[in-house]
């Protein structure tokens, strides 16, 4: 998909661009480029892996949050999805997705919106306490699927897998409720994100899997039909043993990012998005250029770099058909609200003028996509993002 960075030095200042009829000429401000071919390839690989292991592929849509990208999943045969908020569930439900799990601890303040959605589709929510079962059950009218959220060691949310008393009590509360249906057990083994490599990610994923099966064994004594749902991109990418698992919910793999390529979940050319940023200042005396593209565009997510300060993105050159491989030795080294400060090798600095574009590969694609609130595909068409809808007031916000 990509060629080496020396192939074509795309862009050039605006006058050169105009002469060369580059399709990026009309970009004036930070613009998130989306490579559909790379994205579809990422989807196909994960879908094939799920099929090979006979698990349901219920991808998490929080990374792309796009109805257009969602169609690429539909093309791959996906019908069940995961989202991270009630608003996002409604966004996709309104677009014809009717089997959605909201993989976030259920918030009783949103009971009314949950009830509305559950009346027209198969909606799943996460439960981790009998108190919430009670609060929710009193306010629901429709049937809602409930998944017990299990903490298999990540330590964010969920009932610890060894807390048998609370597991039994909460399962019983769901089973006894009027509107909740106990569907299964769900975990997010997010500790795979800090695994140094795929072997470690696989080991953590497998520990999590075995703990989930132990919980399932415990609860199946009293509850039938429990399904087991797991999911995280590093684990689902690295693992080959899905024994006992019914569905997987990875999300980030759709775009990948620098964080995932650093830890071996993908190659750099599997990264499907890059932020096109105009160069606005040259500082060869410190081997830096400044681009329009700051914390409000990339997010301020950083990644540690061995023997150096953290970085906020890798740097490539935009091309007519996407972008080059990352430039060795180049990185976004500091961010302000609108500024990105880019370190570049001296050899690259000589070619740049103010008005040129650089393509920044994000550290964390979920957050960069949320900042961009919309994509430009390589053919010049656009793709939507949930966060790009009108959002003028906190009331609109509360509709999310």
């Amino acid at each position: 998909m990509r060629c080496a960075p020396h192939c074509v030095l795309a862009s050039g200042n605006i006058e050169k661009n105009r002469a060369s009829e580059m399709p990026l000429d009309d970009i004036t401000t930070p613009t998130l480029l989306l490579d559909e071919a790379v994205c579809r390839r990422n989807i196909a690989r994960m879908q094939q892996k799920a099929a090979r292991h006979a698990v349901l592929f219920r991808p998490h849509f929080k990374t792309h949050q796009s109805r257009r990208v969602a169609t690429w999943f539909r093309d791959a045969g996906v019908t069940a999805i995961t989202v991270s908020s009630v608003g996002m569930a409604r966004y996709f439900a309104d677009d014809g997705w009717h089997d959605i799990t909201i993989a976030f601890p259920v918030n009783p303040r949103e009971a009314e919106q949950i009830d509305d959605l559950a009346r027209r589709m198969s909606l799943g929510v996460l439960i981790e306490s009998p108190d919430v079962v009670g609060q929710l059950d009193r306010r629901l009218g429709a049937a809602v699927d409930a998944w017990l959220k299990i903490d298999t060691g990540y330590g964010r949310t969920g009932i610890r897998d060894e807390n048998h008393a609370l597991l039994r009590e909460t399962a019983q509360a769901v089973a006894a409720s009027t509107h909740l249906r106990l569907r299964g057990l769900l975990t997010h083994g997010g500790n795979t994100y800090s695994a140094a490599n795929n072997a470690e990610a696989n080991a953590r994923f497998d520990t999590s899997r075995r703990r989930m099966l132990a919980v399932a064994d415990l609860l199946r004594a009293d509850h039938t039909g429990l399904r087991v749902s797991v999911g995280d991109t590093p684990g689902c990418t690295a693992a080959e043993d899905f024994t006992g698992i019914d569905e997987i919910r990875p999300g980030n793999f759709v775009f990948f990012d620098v964080m995932q390529s650093r830890r071996g979940s993908c190659l750099a050319d599997d990264i499907a998005i890059a932020l096109a940023c105009p160069v606005v200042a040259l500082h060869p005396e410190r081997q830096e250029v400044v681009v329009h593209g700051g914390a409000v565009h990339l997010s301020c997510e950083r990644i540690a770099t061995p023997g150096a300060d953290s970085i906020f993105g890798l740097v490539a050159m935009p091309r007519a058909d996407g972008w080059t491989a990352p430039i060795p030795g180049a990185a976004v080294v500091r961010l302000s609200q609108e500024h990105g400060i880019v370190h570049l090798p001296a050899s690259r600095l000589a070619d740049l003028r103010v008005g040129d574009l650089l393509a920044i590969l994000p550290v964390h694609s979920c957050l960069t996509a949320e900042c961009a609130r919309g994509y430009r595909c390589l053919d010049g068409t656009t793709a939507d993002h949930f966060a790009g809808r009108p959002h003028h007031t906190w009331r609109a916000s509360s509709q999310r």
Copy 2:
């Protein structure tokens, strides 16, 4: 404005809330609260300081980005403003602000939009190279005010103050251009943000000021009427010597935040915004609760804490008239995309239920406001944010 945290334990779970008729009952998702009285007090203090030192107050609107908050500045007599992007300039120009400096290195790709704006108002842009003067001048039709961007030691953008040759050359290029008018010298002494206290911020501000005056002396030999513009919240808050300065451009002071209170620019009760977040999970076994309010709501800006890990916000209790003082020993200690993990003293944990609200004071208010894209004032009315406009496509994005 605030009372001690033990005065009123606001909120309570949704049922308690309903019974108590708290005005925050209708909040279902993370909602950015804005205390107009605190905000107006912050504006008045800085305006009075500018008046006392006889400098023009040209506040930076990148922090609030709100036409409604802008009216509070107008009430305080402000007529000239600063913004950080061409889109933001248009947003405020369309609302009747007609003296705007875009305090970001000018991007020649936006020449057409700059030209449109300059035809109807007094518009200033930042210049730091003769090359950009040439690129811009060829594409402009209207007259545009040019400020030489000076780097007095922060090391982000601008011509270093000691680079006399480039200073003279760039000033000459502007003076010789057809459409640019050399208006003055501008710096952002952003190294005050890392000052440990006000004395250090004042010292850095003063170094910057003296370097600006030296540059002015240098260039006034060949150019008349040069104004000197400086601005950053820590410096403008700490300094009392503005000799030789014509205008100040602080921005963050309108809301302040945890970063500013930590370094002494403000007190905790000068912070004018807080993110109301529903509690979604209780984990007393690790002295934590989980709220809906993550990196997409707060931004992932963090601040180092002596002897502990970095934090992502302080924690208060919402009240009918705002929020309490920060709870001692409480902080947002980890963030995911939608999750905030809050450490709380054991005594506070006992009072909380899922469905309660916490008020999170942001580390960096500019970024949290950008994430929220709209405010809820304490009287239940709303305030807009530039980023809250419809934004479905990259073309809309490029309109920013």
